[in-house]
Amino acid sequence: MNLLDKSRSIKNHDITASDNLESYLKTIKKKNPKINAFLEIKEDEAAQKAEKVDARIKKGEKVGKLAGLTIGIKSNINIEDFIISAASKTLENYVGSYNATVIKRIEAEDGIILGTTNMDEFAAGSSTETSYFGPADNPAAPGRIPGGSSGGSAAVIAAEMCDLSLGSDTGGSIRNPASHCGVMGFKSTYGVVSRQGLLDLAMSLEQIGPFARDAGGIALMLDSIAGYDPMECTTIKEIPNFHEITQNSQDVMKGMKLGVVKEFFDVSDNRIVNIIEESIDKMTDMGAEVVELNFKHLDLCIPTYYLINYVEFFSATRKYDGRKYGYRIEEVCGEEVLRRIHIGSYISQKEYSGKYYKKALQARSLIRREITGLLDGVDALISPTVPKLPHKLGESLNTMDMYAYDVLTVIANLAGIPAGSMKAGEVNGIPVGLQIQGKPLDDAKIMGMMAGLEEIQ
């Protein structure tokens, strides 16, 4: 049953929210010890909320869009009374002291927050292996990484441990694990979803966004959490309309111009390229038209992204000075977090600012101009989400090989454009994700295309 049907069934009292929760709790008990996707679960609180939702539905009261649906939240988003550790020892004792705007909106729509999910420490990674609480497994390809940094949020969806989940995407941290775990993930236009309450990795790049098993779930969650937040200065007033975008998905591909950037395929594993090309063929069968394009500055994207990420992350972590949250971050964090802090501190020094950070900002403008230029002539860009397959848990990668996972996802963050990932196929049982990127505020259009493609798969 797809998510929109389930939501209707709960509202019609064909299924109760309590039964829905109960069945997920059983799955969690069975699967989570091995997958390690949920970090903290509040069963009793969730059960009470489910009962209340059921009671209100029984009385015929109006309930919210997310009524009775169970939701996992990445552990870098503040929820009152949950441990919000960002999977770091630094914050192992930090209890969320307020609700992030997205949490308030989920609660206002009667969603049931079940627990927090595993992730790379402070979202600084692409594999969920850097978590202080140990790596998460990939439910779709056991023994392999689920991707990251929101690996836990992708895994809880892939393993059917809840209905929906939230992650955060700074350089692909939603789309990458969505791709590896064979689920859908979406990063909206910068400013569409409030970051108030999201623990910072790189503030100018990141957005909170949903994971779901189908397009209806993504649309329902975005419809609930997107929107201007007067308490968060980078949110924007124009909000794409996500409501009912999955209704008219039959003809959505007709006349669509799909940009296919040669360089995005050149850097990708051939087995992945083949699967994405099959999907593109399906879309042309549905009436879309392919436009071949070139992107000159792909080699700039990773260095630009990481330089900005390091500097902003260095700044964001200054509050973890050991005085308020127990530990000084540098004394307890993992290798990757420490690398980013040290490089961020180094390159933000006055004497180097012109050399690294300013250059990175200039390169960012260049990349933004180039990608929006390419988007000018087409409706969306189609590519693999990740250029390579997820490695096996325990396999050690050098830093640059790890960063290479991100080359096709960071562009959307550098340019602030919307991008979604959905499963296109499998290589030896390992999921392969297809990425659709669009113009700023074309979020709903991309969602519509994802829904259309989903129907013919």
Binding site: N76, I77, N78, I84, A86, L91, Y94, S97, Y98, A100, R195, Q196, G197, L198, L199, D200, A202, M203, S204, P230, M231, E232, C233, T234, V311, E312, F314, S315, T317, R318, K319, D321, R323, K324, Y325, S345, S348, Q349, K350, S353, Y357
Partner: protein, 458 residues
């Protein structure tokens, strides 16, 4: 000072809190001194994990623009934005302080160039002896005013600071000297620049500069090179000491705050502020000199307080300006200073002053009696006329009784009379005083002087 004359240059960086109800980036109250420790706080001003600033407080931003305009600054036409200034100290919950790029620049106050005016957030208050931090103050908006090194003596710096505090008071958008924190730069000819921190008052700035001048002159005289350094002012001892190296900021690693998009001050918005802003005191002083023909010293006193300046302009609609100015500067200010209150606090109204001056002009009271009346005017509902009646001061002595007193004074004081004829200056004043005593102050001094001169010429 060793008898050698060395030129000095001094520049100031002055922080004063802006007067707002809520903090710069959240809704918390700003009455941090009245509130119990750590009660005016929220996740935003504590910068808890994930917290983002709310949009900048508009009253604070407009107040800063107003003050910049009053200091004759140009207003930044390009986008302004906030920077993160990183340093590690217990009072700073995020590890960085948000500080704007200049909102105004190239201003001038009393021949001191203003380099720039910008806005910042106040950190919390750390009490090292107790090892606690009170974050009530964290996030309160501050304005920072940076001057060029245009002051040439501690006295000039003191005068500038007094004038600046007066401008801030006029603006109605800033808190007073009580919230002031200043850094002072001083260099003597041939030496490097020293920066002195921890200055919290005008007097402190003056004392720190005095001390530093002597210290540096002594070093120069002994042939010791003055190195560039940061020193701390110890208010209790009125001396400066080198700051520990750790306290010296090495590198703040400034970056634009990604959580706060750039802002553009609208031309119309600036013009609205410009139209509504009070006339700055130094400009008002010049206008008083021009418009009312009063002396500079008088004009300065009249504009020392906005309420007093407004009262003066009201009074001179009815009374000759220089007459009003003399009375307000010499007598009104004397009484206010004695009572340690501002004009505003005294409750004296412009109409009261007009009534008093009319009593003198109409010769209903003598100037001497008027001085006694004015002493009773602060915090008094009774009118000057009523006070005069109650004190029995109504009426100037008739000519006959003054003449009688003149003759009596001459008869009783032969020594003063002969001193007068020898041309000694004090003699006439002494005799006038005697007449005043005999008439119980009701004689008119001018008239008395004329009668005395006539009588003595005989």
């Amino acid at each position: 000072m060793g008898g050698i004359f060395i030129k000095m240059k001094c520049g100031l960086e002055i922080h004063v809190q802006l007067e707002t109800d809520s903090k710069l980036f959240c809704d918390c109250r700003t009455n941090y001194q009245d509130a119990p420790a750590n009660s005016n706080i929220c996740f935003v001003c504590l910068n808890q994990p994930g917290a983002k600033p709310y949009p900048p407080n508009e009253h604070a931003m407009n107040g800063a623009i107003k003050i910049a305009l009053m200091l004759g600054c140009k207003i930044a036409e390009d986008e302004t934005y906030f920077l993160r200034k990183h340093y590690d100290y217990p009072d700073l919950p995020s590890g960085y302080q948000r500080t704007s790029i200049p909102i105004g620049y190239e201003g001038n106050l009393n021949d001191v160039s203003i380099r720039e005016v910008h806005i910042e957030e106040d950190p919390g208050q750390y009490k090292p002896d107790l090892g606690v931090v009170d974050f009530n103050r964290s996030g309160i908006p501050l304005i920072e005013i940076v001057t060029e090194p245009d002051m040439r003596s501690p006295e000039e710096a003191r005068n500038f600071l007094r004038e600046l505090i007066r401008v801030l008071e006029y603006s109605g958008s800033a808190r007073g000297e009580g919230t002031m924190r200043a850094d002072v730069n001083i260099s003597l000819e041939g030496g490097k620049r020293a920066e002195i921190k921890n200055i919290n008052s005008i007097k402190g700035a003056y004392k720190a500069l005095k001390y530093e001048m002597v210290r540096q002159k002594n070093l120069i005289r002994r042939g010791v090179e003055i190195k560039q350094e940061t020193r701390a002012f110890l208010e209790s001892q009125m001396i400066t000491v080198p700051m520990r190296l750790k306290e010296e900021a090495d590198d703040y690693r400034y970056i634009p705050d990604p959580d706060l998009p750039p802002m553009l001050a609208e031309y119309e918005q600036i013009e609205v502020i410009r139209e509504k802003m009070p006339e700055p005191p130094h400009i008002k002083t010049e206008r008083f000199i021009q418009e009312y023909g009063i002396q500079k010293e008088y004009a300065k006193v009249m504009t020392s307080e906005l309420a007093l300046a407004d009262a003066f302009e009201e009074i001179v609609k009815h009374v000759e300006p220089s007459f009003a100015a003399i009375w307000m500067r010499d007598e009104l200010k004397r009484v206010l200073n004695y009572n340690k209150m501002s004009f505003d606090e005294s409750g004296i109204k412009p109409a009261d002053i007009v009534e008093l001056l009319d009593l003198i002009n109409d010769k209903k009271v003598t100037p001497k009696a008027a001085k006694k009346i004015i002493e009773k005017m602060p915090k008094n509902d009774a009118s000057p006329l009523k006070i005069a009646e109650d004190m029995g001061l109504i009426g100037v002595s008739d000519e006959e009784s003054v003449l009688k007193a003149v003759n009596q004074a001459i008869d009783e004081n032969p020594q003063a009379v002969s001193d007068y004829h020898e041309g000694k200056k004090g003699a006439m004043n002494f005799l006038i005083g005697q007449v005043m005593r005999l008439t119980r102050g009701k004689a008119d001094p001018g008239e008395t002087s004329r009668f005395l001169k006539e009588a003595l010429a005989k």
